[in-house]
Amino acid sequence: MSETLEGHCLCGAVTIRIDGEHDPRPGACHCRMCQRWTGGLFLCFYAAAETVTVEGPVTRFASSSFAERAFCPKCGSHLWMRDLDGTTSGYDLMPGLFDAARDWPLRSEIYADCAMASVRLEGNHHRETRAEYQAKNPHIEGDAR
């Protein structure tokens, strides 16, 4: 999908614009780090780096040796997760920042076997267990934080 999308955080200090290719299907992650960060359910969708414009204050937390989690320092809204390898990495953005995301279908779940009992997602979307995901992504150091 390549329409222009605009979203903002809870307090409005941060605006994110996407102008170009992005995937309007959120993926869910149930790993322990994503649970702790969000309080329960982590959802994100992908947008290529060159399509994303960010305005406003942003704080970034390096949650592992290879990725950062960004948030608004004024209201705490989660903004994105992104690889730390510089400016070429795409953004895994929080769909809740964008009004358009209300109608987006769920693309996938990873760490599906680690989901909390209070988070059960319905449908025939792609699912991967912790073991399946970590076998495909050997750089993941573990999620026991």
Partner: protein, 97 residues
């Protein structure tokens, strides 16, 4: 993109102006709790617990924003945005504690 430090004085002023607050860890932004002003936190992020297995979902709110792939819990009460806004109006008018 610019990286700023949190302006805590500004954040505190904003907090005082609002009816409710959301608390996060200032270092990593982990979600901690939500509470109405002047009340103790009663909405604490489940994922903070090492073992949430004893918990049960008893209440769901703003269900009119529920996506199709997030099914309701059978035994949980279901409340819409309109119902929640009415509760907020009563709280603001001092009709509920």
């Amino acid at each position: 993109m610019t990286i700023y430090d949190t302006n805590w004085a500004e954040a505190e002023a904003a907090r005082r102006a609002w009816m409710a607050e959301r608390a996060v860890c200032s270092a990593c932004d982990a979600t901690l709790y939500w509470r109405m002003r002047g009340r103790k936190p009663r909405s604490i992020a489940v994922a903070l617990l090492d073992d949430p297995s004893g918990l049960k979902v008893t209440e769901e709110i703003f269900v009119d924003y529920r996506p199709g792939w997030l099914p309701p819990f059978e035994d949980a009460t279901q409340s819409t945005e309109a119902k929640e806004m009415e509760k907020l109006r009563k709280f603001q008018a001092g009709e509920t504690q």
